[in-house]
């Protein structure tokens, strides 16, 4: 995932009306999901879906 992919996803979520308030949007920009993923899942960080993090658990989808 590149920084641009994450920016593009945030832009899409704003356009779809899912992200609205400036503080929530700012937090999404400052805290990219890729930092919290196992190495094998990092390429998918900017796809709007939950991803596996081990132990049968998932990381939230960005729209969550």
């Amino acid at each position: 995932m590149s920084e641009t992919d994450w920016e593009r996803l945030i832009y899409d979520l704003i356009r779809c009306g899912i992200l609205k308030s400036p503080r929530v949007i700012r937090a999404m920009r400052l805290v990219p999901r890729s930092l919290f993923l196992p190495e094998s899942q990092k390429p998918y960080a900017a796809i709007d879906t939950p991803l596996p993090i081990g132990e049968g658990q998932t990381i939230s989808a960005p729209q969550g």
Binding site: A27, V31, I53, E55, S60
Partner: protein, 161 residues
């Protein structure tokens, strides 16, 4: 979920289900923003029942720079975290069979809780609860979601695998 929670700077937040620590860190950046003086900061307490994930979350949160605003506790989050209660906001990142009573009790009057409620393996309903100043609870249906099941005393009676 962060929009539904109506988070404000200074809030004390309880998260049930730390997972990777990402959600807690995004909340930290809203209730304790890096560009606001530290004495105005709120704090996030996040509980994780799976020890390996609690460590994973702690490491991730430290690497992202939020250890000073997020505390990870390993334990049964369906019981809440009475040590720091009451909370301005509570979010549950796993689907509960019904809303756990301890979480209702640990919400401040005027507080908001967001929790997915429903069966395992199906879509669940995201519920927003507002606790009125007189203690009344008002529930609102925010639509369909799909989360892993909440386990623990007030969770689904299954293992977490």
């Amino acid at each position: 979920m962060n929009e539904a929670l109506e988070l404000e700077v200074g809030h004390k937040v309880l998260e049930v289900g730390a997972g990777s620590g990402w959600h807690a860190s995004t909340i930290a950046e809203i209730i304790a923003p890096s560009d606001v003086p530290k004495d105005k900061w709120g704090h996030v307490y996040t509980i994780e029942i799976i020890p390996r994930l609690a460590n994973f979350a702690r490491e991730n949160i430290a690497r992202a720079g939020y250890s000073d605003r997020v505390t990870v506790i390993c334990g049964d989050g369906s019981l809440g975290y009475p040590d720091e209660a009451p909370y301005d906001r509570i979010l549950v990142t796993a689907a509960a069979p019904k809303i756990p009573e301890p979480l209702k009790e640990q919400l401040k009057p005027g507080g908001i809780m967001v929790i997915p409620v429903g069966e395992v393996g199906f879509y669940q309903t995201l519920i927003r609860i507002r606790k009125m100043m007189d203690g009344r609870i008002i529930e609102e249906d925010l639509g369909g979601v799909a989360f892993v099941p909440l386990v623990g005393k007030y969770g689904h009676k299954i293992g977490y695998r």
